[in-house]
């Protein structure tokens, strides 16, 4: 019997099975690595970059006796396979700063007016920002001006909050087999579209019970007539910070 394979996450030994990515092994072992576009039920996507870690940094001694740290390569832990003996840095100041910047970029890109958003308190982007201690937006606001799509009887789309994680796209194609959503455009014009001739959600066959209608980590895909149901103070991230729960999705199911 061979020894179980392990790698090191912030100096802590983490076991893994062949073929697992770093984030899969870490979450299985109960160690939280921040993530937005990663979802255990779907193939990794690699767009949010929040799960970025540093791999195999080393410290060398120069000729004049000084210790110099050579940073290892930065990699998305959702797409990088775990390897035995690997040294992975996640909760280190440099990586936390990087994640803070990424969250600030997402926050200024959309219209994230949390005070009036139905997802506030259970939004992964917001929970992550709280956990990272993001106090300021740092960048100028983009002030996105996309139209709200309220054409569907049960579902509402506010595209100004979309972070392009493509979870709805993946869920609709892979689970629901309906291909309701897609991403269109390039660069900063990239946006979520609906697969109907009119381009409206109401003309697709999306149902409120579909996986795609319940997987959005932020406040884009919302169920009509179901806003502000949980009292302030009892919402998900009022009760515990996001990092308390290594896997953010399973087995929590959104109430419909």
């Amino acid at each position: 019997m061979s020894d179980p394979k392990t790698f090191f996450l912030d100096e802590e030994e983490i076991p893994f099975e062949e073929g697992q990515t770093i984030i899969q092994a870490a979450l299985t072992a109960g160690k939280y690595i921040p993530h937005l576009c990663y979802h255990p039920e779907f193939k990794p996507h690699g767009s949010c970059k929040l799960c970025t870690v540093r791999i195999d940094s080393r410290t060398v001694t120069t000729e004049d006796g000084q210790s110099v740290k050579i940073p290892g390569r930065a990699a998305a832990s959702c797409t990088t396979p775990a390897q035995a003996g690997q040294h992975v840095e996640s909760e280190v100041p440099e990586i936390l700063d990087l994640r803070r910047t990424l969250v600030q970029m997402l926050l200024v890109e959309g219209n994230h007016y949390c005070p009036s958003c139905e997802k506030s308190g259970k939004c992964l982007l917001q929970g992550l920002a709280y956990d990272l201690g993001v106090m300021d937006p740092h960048f100028p606001q983009y002030f996105s001006k996309r139209e709200v799509d309220a054409s569907h009887p049960d579902i509402l789309l506010d595209l100004n909050r979309c972070i392009l994680c493509e979870l709805c796209v993946r869920a609709s194609a892979e689970v629901d087999k309906k291909n309701v959503f897609a991403i269109s455009g390039r660069g900063n014009t990239k946006h979520l579209i609906c697969n109907s001739e009119s381009g409206e959600l109401g003309d697709t066959n999306l149902a409120a019970t579909d996986k795609a209608a319940n997987v959005c980590p932020v406040g884009v895909i919302l169920h009509k007539r179901h806003g502000f149901e949980v009292p302030y103070g009892q919402r998900r991230f009022d009760k515990a910070p996001i990092s308390d729960n290594p896997v953010q999705y399973a087995p929590v199911k959104e109430q419909v």
């Binding site: 219209n111 920002a129 709280y130 956990d131 300021d136 937006p137 606001q141 002030f143």
Partner: protein, 183 residues
Amino acid sequence: MNAPLPKRKLKVATTSLAGCFGCHMSFLDIDERILDLVELVEFDRSPITDIKHCSPDCDLGIIEGGVCNAENVHVLHEFRKNCKILIAMGACAINGGLPAQRNSLDIRDILAAVYAQPGRGVHIPNDPEIPLLLNEVHPLHEVVKIDYFLPGCPPSGDAIWKFLTDLLAGRTPTLGHGLIHYD
């Protein structure tokens, strides 16, 4: 032993630009702790004093609300010029807040819809006494340099207290779980 130096009280100025005064109400939610606070600070220009303009030697400027009209810009510049440290308090000051939802609309259409419809007046108010609106609402840091940001809509009294006591003690203010909120 030397007698302790007489402590100079820090001068604090506050104002509301495109705000709702909710952040100031939340400030007052520190309740009786305001008695501890006035041992350490004195209030300069503020909606709770009668001082019309900032003294040139204010230590702290606390501003709620974004920037939505020309007068807001003047007041913000006055604060930046006269306060050593400027704090953007609340969601509006930080990212424009809910008033910035008007940014997706044309300002003339908004004014016409409110003031120039049958039964609601005949024209958009045009007296030079009234400050002109800007095309878009802006957060403070797009107009002047801001030193600290205190998120919340509004930040709770406890968050404001933690923030100010950290700052007055010379620490970088941090709000842990439960105090940091954007809503």
